[in-house]
């Protein structure tokens, strides 16, 4: 064990880029990782006395220090990127590394640090500065890495090569992280917009009908009152579903979404879900196929029903012209496979892989938050199952999910008999 550890340590000593890269990959996000970068770089090259990471701020045309080691970040000055007199400005504007050796450390460091940080340098102390720009292969530049060392030969060609590679990796990482952050911010603002719209629409309807009913001017017949109340009820349900999706989503985020498995009769859950779906549409025909004598399985009845409801709702929503919806349930290789197929607009291949991402929506003009499928995915996976979709644009989609059969539930393949239940007792 000790020998293996030694071997690995020597490998990372020989290849500090590998160690640096591994730590980058372990990083969770840019905000959490940036403060550590300077420490990591100094760890890789211990002769470095101080390291500073600058990121380019396009708005202010300046380089802002975001991470420092060997000095206080608050004591590091910002650098204007066009300042050719500073090493940082030069490296950034020209896009290549620069090395500088100075006799008067305190004097040169004053360009980068506030006076308090430079006080401990002795007069005449030699310092080496090395600055590497962080960029992508297409020339996009993100910032600079600046290193200081009082030791001789710290920035030997080999170390300089490592620092250049580290800067390349950093550039790539920052680019990826920034792109991801921008996309998340875009999604967030789109979500806020969608949510406001989705909540306001039923709320306006509820308010409108409630005000109408309370109005003393109108004399409404009993039938009209009933109709208004039904609309209020339906719109309140829509709002409830939306809020439930949001709550589930936040529960997933915090890792609190739990499933409570108990013995359930799946055919009963499917039949009820289809019965309810039928009430929501007059344009669709439903066909249900469930094996006869379906075994009792261990699952969360409420959450499983939620997944089915979501798939049925999507099948209805994405086939606005109507058509056939087939719900199939079968047992195959030790698991229950449920599928919901429709004849709707289908999903293009580029969207298929992203369907289960939070807030991802294939059609932004249709109602929805982009939370239903991610929540369904989490529920299925929490129960030990899988969920996936197959689709051809213009020819409809089939969504599948599985639930495991516990050993006591399993029936031999030859005894399986695809028939659909009618008279099972309640779950």
């Amino acid at each position: 064990m000790g020998h293996r550890h030694k071997k690995r340590c020597s490998l990372f000593k020989r290849y500090p880029v590998a160690l640096f890269y591994r730590k980058l990959l372990e990083a969770f996000d840019l905000d959490g990782f940036l403060p550590q970068v300077a420490f990591l770089l100094r760890e890789a090259v211990p002769e470095i006395d101080a390291a500073v990471v600058y990121l380019y701020d396009n708005a202010g045309k300046r380089l802002v220090p975001v991470s420092a080691c060997g000095c206080e970040l608050k004591d590091v000055r910002e650098v204007h990127f066009e300042t050719e007199t500073s090493l940082v400005g030069k490296a950034f504007s020209r896009g290549r590394p620069f090395l500088q050796r100075e006799q008067e450390a305190a004097k040169v460091l004053a360009q980068y640090f506030k006076p308090a940080s430079c006080a401990h340098f002795r007069p005449g102390q030699i310092v080496s500065l090395f600055c590497v720009p962080m960029d992508l292969s297409d020339g996009t530049r993100f910032g600079c890495l600046l290193f200081f060392s009082a030791a001789k030969n710290t920035f030997s060609p080999r170390r300089a090569a490592f620092l250049k590679r580290a800067a390349k990796i950093m550039g790539l990482f920052i680019y990826k992280a920034q792109t991801l952050k921008q996309s998340q911010e875009k999604k967030y603002s789109s979500l806020v917009c969608t949510l406001s719209h989705e909540l306001r629409t039923p709320l306006t309807c509820i308010k409108g009908y409630a005000t109408t009913l309370l109005s003393r001017e109108g004399q409404w017949s009993r039938d009209e009152e009933q109709e208004f109340l039904k609309i209020i009820d339906a719109e309140a349900d829509t709002m409830k579903e939306l809020i439930n999706d949001l709550m589930d989503s936040s529960m997933i985020e915090s890792g609190l979404l739990s499933v409570h498995k108990e013995p359930v009769l799946l055919p009963r859950i499917i039949s009820k879900a289809v019965d309810d779906a039928r009430l929501r549409t007059t344009k669709h025909k439903f066909v249900v196929s469930i094996p006869r004598d379906f075994p009792v399985i261990e699952a969360d009845p409420v959450r499983t029903r939620q997944v089915l409801d979501n798939l049925l709702e999507n099948a209805i929503k994405y086939s606005p012209e109507g058509g056939l919806i087939v719900v199939q349930c079968r047992i195959d290789r030790g698991e229950v496979i449920l599928s919901v197929a429709d004849e709707g607009m289908g999903i293009a291949p580029e969207h298929l892989n992203r369907l289960f991402e939070k807030f991802y929506r294939v059609k932004s003009d249709l109602a929805g938050t982009g939370l239903g499928l991610p929540v369904a995915c989490e529920i299925v996976e929490k129960q030990g199952g899988r969920i996936w979709a197959k689709s051809t644009p213009g020819k409809g989609s089939t969504f599948y999910f599985t639930l495991p059969l516990t050993p006591m539930d399993q029936v031999p393949e030859e005894e399986e008999c695809p028939v659909e239940e009618t008279n099972h007792p309640g779950c």
């Binding site: 249900v288 056939l324 599928s339 429709d342 004849e343």
Partner: protein, 162 residues
């Protein structure tokens, strides 16, 4: 409309038995089927194909016509001979693929039970092939069987506007 497939398939088999009995003259058709009687099997399979075609057609508006492929001239009709349907569709949708798969599975199981022990080891009874308009016009694959001069497929269901 909400169709429970097993009930529907059970009815299809019962109706096909009744149809065979009517054609054969009030004879117990099930007994004859179990004895691999060619005439009884012929009536039974024809009726079953009509009903399967009707089921597919009434559930999806994309189904235009349904044909049953005839047995080869030198092929003897037995209870274990698969029944092949060619379904001409406007477009082959995910739901159609799913309903055909479900129908094949349910029919196989119910048929096995009906003709047990003769059909106990049967692995496939109904085969459903979809041909779209393009296949149909180019007589591609099983679409060629529809207009075949040698052994034309028999139409068992058609949408009224076709």
């Amino acid at each position: 409309m909400y169709s429970k497939l097993v009930e529907r398939v059970t009815n299809m088999l019962e109706d096909s038995l009744r149809y065979s009995e009517e054609k054969l003259g009030e004879i117990n058709a099930l007994e004859l089927l179990k004895k691999n009687d060619t005439e009884a099997l012929g009536y039974f399979r024809y009726s079953l194909a009509m009903q399967a075609g009707n089921f597919l057609g009434e559930n999806s508006e994309h189904v235009l016509e349904v044909f049953v492929c005839p047995e080869e001239a030198d092929e003897e009709i037995t209870a274990t001979l698969p029944l092949t349907l060619v379904v001409r569709v406007e477009k082959h949708t995910a739901a159609l693929a799913s309903i055909a798969e479900a129908l094949q599975n349910v029919l196989l199981e119910e048929y096995r039970k009906l003709l047990s022990p003769l059909a106990d080891n049967l692995a496939l009874f109904l085969k459903v092939y979809f041909v779209d308009e393009d296949d149909f016009l180019r007589r591609k694959g099983l679409a060629a069987a529809v207009g075949s001069l040698y052994a034309p497929a028999l139409r068992v269901w058609r949408r009224s506007f076709v």
